[in-house]
Symmetry: C2
Subunit: 230 residues, 2 copies
């Protein structure tokens, strides 16, 4: 069906990747919907639910892709459930603003990650990832709300900066554990199996570390734009 | 902007109607997302979240319509918040199956209601209502899950039948209170102000009661299809 899929290692890595992204999107959507219940007013609630709905739409795209690849989406996704649930358990927002910032940080990291790996994917799968990368479209809303909250109560910026560092630290920790556990996935992500014609995948922890460093830098830059010390 | 809107009573009634529908959709979406957390597995959770996302999409359409009509969506919606929150408080599902059935019953009643009132609306607003009426598209999923639950544990049908009667009773009770409180809305709904050229709205409780009776009959028929005594 998809001609670039003759290399089974590449195919398995891509299926892993789509499962990882799919679970990430549905769990992010679920958490944001829960955060929406803490919103101080109806317009804010609607904005948060709209971000959640956008993430759910990404999930649907990725789930359908897994079906197209001949995989069982639920089985693949279940393998990533512990990683994401651990991350979410370690990073429970105490209010809607922390929830909003978590979604913004997660969305930013996901977009960076998608952009990093898109280059190593075949065209069909790259298109899916790039579509998913289009974001929730509500970043400006988050920036406005966080800035307004800081303007109203300046000391809040210290708490939010700490929160964003904790989010980044937990995300990196989970990502590193996952990368070590799943070599096939890591090989696809860092491009050591970028095309079906390549050799047997070989782990490249240096490439992975450099990717994490670029994502961390981009995160720090986004936090500065919000007025937070990263 | 919208030529059929020269009659202020009609315009106000339509704005009320759109506000009612918009709050109904966003609150239904919110409750379904909360129910999704009780789902027994990931595929079921995803189905429930998909219904919630469809309802959220309806909300967005209605909210945008309110902006187009020159109304403040949040202000209009807030007027219907007590009605819906009272309904939801009186009908808290005890598990995901009750939540699913509630969404199915609510969606069925909403579709019937939309169909009833669409005939009395001008073309522009009718189109909006008919689009919203298109449903969450997951009715078959609900039917399958409810039937499977009954097949697995036949006594459950008694509890679910009772639950569906309670939902219908609470919905009718809230609708009757609302109709009595908001004459302009009721006039639009029963078609006593169906065109801007008509006379001053006059309440028609007989027409309203007949509409509620038709909606109740349609509900009973849907419950029979599910294998539940209405």
């Amino acid at each position: 069906m998809i001609s670039a899929f003759n290399d089974p290692a590449y195919r398995d890595g891509v299926i892993d990747l789509m499962g990882l992204l799919a679970y990430g999107e549905i769990s992010a959507s679920e958490r944001l919907n829960a955060d929406a219940a803490m919103a101080p007013d109806l317009p804010t609630k609607a904005e948060i639910m709209q971000m959640a709905a956008a993430e759910f739409g990404h999930f649907l795209t990725l789930r359908d892709r897994l079906y197209e690849l001949g995989a069982d989406p639920w089985q693949i996704m279940a393998e990533f459930e512990p990683t994401f649930e651990r991350f979410h358990r370690m990073t429970q927002p105490s209010d809607w603003l922390e929830g909003l910032l978590k979604a913004f940080v997660g969305d930013g990291m996901a977009s960076d990650f998608y952009r990093e790996i898109a280059a190593y994917l075949d065209e069909d799968n790259r298109d899916i990832v790039v579509d998913t990368l289009s974001g929730t479209g509500n970043s400006q809303f988050v920036i406005d709300r966080v800035r307004a909250a800081i303007a109203e109560d300046p000391p809040i910026s210290g708490r939010l900066a700490l929160w964003s560092r904790r989010l980044m630290g937990e995300a990196l920790s989970q990502a590193q554990t996952l990368a070590a556990e799943r070599e096939g996935l890591t090989a696809v992500v860092v491009g050591s199996v970028d095309r079906p014609s390549r050799d047997v995948p070989s782990m490249d922890f240096g490439a992975l570390a450099r990717m994490f460093a670029r994502i961390t830098d981009a995160h720090a830059e986004r936090m500065r734009q919000l007025g937070l010390d990263a």
